[in-house]
Amino acid sequence: MKKTVLTVDDSRTMRDMLLMALEDAGYHVIQAVDGIDGLETLAANGADVVITDINMPRMDGFGFIEGMRADPNHRTTPCLVLTTESDAEKKARARAAGATGWIVKPFDPAKLVDAVRRVAA
């Protein structure tokens, strides 16, 4: 059974990159375009690992992670934050919101897949 990765990113390019890298690595990928869409998609489909961007319209990555952690079904679903913003404050905020880990953009596919594998049960 393939593992499902939910990617939440407002950039189509980024979603495509993630899709390519993750599908090549044998994951099943579902996508959402912002935090709200992400929560809805997660609720409807579930996921083994979630990867989310921080800067998104409607609901940003922090809000998304908080929302996800508030859902008992996804309290323990690993969630990686994908962002170019690497300053400590952002990291701390993401961590406080419940992020499992980070992937720094630009990422190479190997690194990405490695990070996903690390957090995936």
Binding site: R12, T13, N45, A47, N55, T77, R95
Partner: protein, 751 residues
């Protein structure tokens, strides 16, 4: 690689959208709407460009976007004011960003270094508020190993185990192995990290020996699943850098106590191996129920870090009790480690997509097929009519319904290709800014009707004429600020670009509040250039239309803005090629308005079906003014040869279409035919002589050029209901060029 290129293409597509969004948001800012959401949207657009550019290694683009983004970050943080100066700079920065994107795409030469650097400097100045900007360093890597100062704690690296979460760093030279002491805090579990996975990960680095101190573990009934009770000691026998070991704990560094010390170095705390944590479980203890309770409402598949059996073997995967033991995983992520509950199988609940992206070819194919359908339907109707069936017969009635349906399908398909003119309009603010800067004029661009829809092909081909006319409006139409003030107008000129639907066509209006057309000068230039006779008496309207003549340029000094050797005649021709018309109205001192009128689609046409010498022809309906039967008394012959017809107190040339097109050699007697008065895009009128009018019909345009070649006087062809091919006349060419070619003396501006 192909997939990569495809994503890159997507990226550039997305860039276009982001730029459009950026532009419109900046315009909002310019109009004073400086709320956080708008600033955030600008930030996101730039941020997304940068993110994608980074992925494709587009260095120059990343560097520029980064500086832009940094300023936007200051603005959205409220640390810098979003004032007029800043917004102007942002607007120019967005232009340079667009250029960088073009360059990255290979569509344009690399951006002028000086220009880019200049703006970078300006942006940095705004970001850092006047001080010398510090060197901006991309610091993307700080998730990695963070070196910390060595301190005294090094001597007793394990002393504060279970302490405040501080991390001691031991000597970092590669040893034969490392001893890792790891005590997760409860917070670590709260972020869905798991000790078991980290140990598994460490096992990938090299052989490990894992032991656990479960001393603090309470009995199961009071156990809180997400509390950190356990301390792990892992001996890793691998010659790796300490950094590698720490990287494993990268994500959890702040949420655990972690020490890494060289194996065989400092005396490690030896924890006695606990018996496998199968707790003193009395028989009546329902472990599963307790676990469920302990883990709150966590789903069963979420492995709570409960008391774990200790794997003392090099086997790197001591999994928490309720989870299935993950087998050692090879390099590739094994998709088999955990059974996915059925609920997780993606039930494709789409988040209400509003649009889909379809390859244009597919739409065009559909349009072609529907075109064939229309023709087929017309043929069927004709057959039925010929068969003499009563109009009230079932077949005829059914056919009528079919006709309605066909028409509806056709309209719907056309609607797929319809696009708002926004995509073109959005490019214009930048143009206006640049041109205004170049000619030192103050210009405000007002747009209206951006959502007006028109066929995609038409939209694409609108950009150039609109660009040209806007340039003209600013360069020639508007006065300098001084002149404007002197004339009692505001220093800032206004150029208006509007789109609207009018009687089945799209109308684009470009107007300015400038000086209007200087008719004296236009006439003089036309005379100087030999375009009109010096003694010609022309109405104001005719003078205005002189600027559309080939080779006409009104600027006394040919500027580099609009004097690029492209005159209004080119604009006019490109509009005509789209089946459109262009007209001008001008009030001296008040300004000029150019009006473009275009068909909504290039695929169907309302036409008049006429016959000439046994040929069936289509005259485009929009060009037709009136049709009449010529009376002998209205006919005159210029020079005894060229027939003219009196029409509303004017004489119009009467063109025998059958002869002009070469269908027959001898002229017919005019009053046996039908004269159709047509008007060209330029406003010239003429009467076309046909044998008879057969009716009016919507026809599907089939290009002649694709399969044959361009034929003078013929715009395209169509297939009629009876299967015959009919040529669609190019009225303009027929009226102007072909008459001239026949060697007859021509009036310059016949009307």
């Amino acid at each position: 690689m192909d997939a990569f290129e495809a994503i890159k293409a997507t990226f550039f597509q997305e860039c276009d959208e982001l730029l459009a969004d950026l532009e419109s948001k900046l315009m909002l800012l310019e109009q004073g709407q400086t709320d956080l959401e708008t600033i955030n949207a600008v930030f996101r657009a730039v941020h997304s460009v940068k993110g994608g550019a980074g992925a494709f290694g587009l260095e120059a683009l990343v560097r520029f976007a980064h500086v832009f983004e940094t300023l936007m970050d200051e603005l959205r943080g409220g640390r810098k004011p979003c004032d007029t100066v800043t917004i102007k700079t942002l607007l120019r920065a967005s232009d340079v960003l667009a250029d960088h994107i073009q360059a990255a795409q290979g569509l344009a030469p690399p951006v002028d270094e000086e220009r880019s650097a200049g703006l970078v400097h300006e942006l940095e100045l705004l970001t850092h508020g006047g001080e010398a900007p510090p060197v901006v360093e991309e610091d993307e890597d700080d998730f990695g190993f963070t070196p910390m100062a060595f301190d005294a704690a090094l001597d007793e690296p394990l002393a504060d185990l279970g302490g405040s979460g501080e991390i001691e760093v031991a000597a970092s030279e590669a040893q034969t192995g490392w001893r890792v002491l790891f005590k997760p805090h409860s917070r670590m579990y709260g972020s869905a990290n798991e000790a078991g996975l980290l140990l598994r990960e460490l096992g990938r680095v090299g052989p490990t020996t894992v032991s656990v101190d479960a001393e603090n573990l309470p009995t199961l009934d009071i156990l809180v699943a997400e509390e950190g009770y356990l301390t792990w000691t892992i001996d890793l026998t691998a010659e790796v850098d300490e950094k590698v070991v720490r990287e494993v704990f990268d994500f959890v560094e702040a949420d655990c106590d972690l020490t890494v010390s060289p194996l065989g170095g400092a005396p490690a705390l030896e924890f006695e191996e606990e018996p496998p944590a199968v707790l003193p479980a009395s028989d009546d203890l329902d472990v599963a129920a307790l676990l469920a309770k302990a883990a709150g409402a966590a789903p069963p598949e979420a492995p709570a870090p409960a008391p774990a059996p200790v794997a003392a073997a090099p086997e790197p995967a001591p999994a928490p009790a309720p989870a299935p033991v993950p087998p050692p995983v090879a390099a590739a992520p094994a998709p088999t480690t955990a059974p996915v509950p059925p609920a997780q199988v993606a039930a494709p609940v789409a988040p209400a997509p509003v649009t889909i992206r379809v390859d244009l070819d597919r739409v065009d194919r559909l349009i072609n097929v529907v075109g064939e359908l229309v023709i087929q339907q017309a043929m069927l109707s004709q057959r039925v009519l010929e068969s003499g069936l009563a109009r009230s017969s079932g077949i005829a009635l059914g056919l009528e319904d079919l006709e309605l349906l066909t028409r509806e399908i056709q309209d719907s398909v056309m609607a797929i290709r319809a696009q708002p003119v926004k995509s073109v309009f959005q490019r214009m603010p930048r143009l206006v800014r640049e041109v205004a800067d170049m000619v030192s004029k103050q210009v405000r661009l007002v747009t209206a009707g951006e959502d007006t829809e028109v066929d995609k092909t038409v939209v694409e081909r609108l950009a150039e004429p609109i660009t040209h006319m806007l340039r003209n409006a600013i360069d020639h139409g508007l006065e300098t600020p001084e002149d404007r003030v002197a004339a009692g107008k505001p220093a800032e000129g206004t150029v208006r670009l509007a789109a609207l639907h009018r009687s089945g066509r799209i109308v684009i209006e470009i107007s300015d509040d400038g000086r209007g057309i200087n008719r004296e000068r236009v006439k003089k230039i036309a005379i100087d250039k030999g375009l009109i006779a010096p003694e010609a008496a022309l109405t104001d309207e005719q003078i205005d239309n002189l600027i559309f003549l080939p080779g006409f340029s009104t600027a006394a000094v040919v500027s580099d803005i609009s004097g690029r050797g492209v005159g209004m005649d080119v604009v006019k021709r490109s509009i005509q090629a789209l089946g459109g018309r262009i007209s001008i109205s001008s009030v001296p001192g008040k300004g000029s308005t150019f009006t473009l009128s275009l068909p909504l689609t290039l695929a169907v046409l309302d036409g008049m079906v006429v016959s000439a010498a046994d040929q069936i022809l289509i005259a485009p309906l929009p060009a037709i003014v009136e049709s009449l039967t010529p009376q002998e008394s209205d006919l005159h012959y210029v020079g005894g040869v060229d027939p003219v017809i009196r029409f509303r107190e004017r004489f119009l040339p009467l063109i025998d279409v059958a002869m002009t097109m070469g269908f027959r050699d001898t002229p017919v007697v005019p009053n046996e035919g039908v004269a159709v008065v047509v008007e060209t895009e330029g406003g010239q009128q003429a009467a076309l002589l046909f044998d008879a009018i057969q009716g009016q019909r919507q026809v599907v345009i089939k290009s002649l050029e694709t399969n044959y070649q361009q034929v003078e006087g013929v715009a395209a062809a169509t297939i009629l209901g009876d299967g015959r091919v009919a040529l669609i006349l190019d009225v303009d060419v027929l009226v102007t060029d072909m008459r001239r070619k026949s060697g007859r003396p021509d009036f310059k501006l016949a009307s």
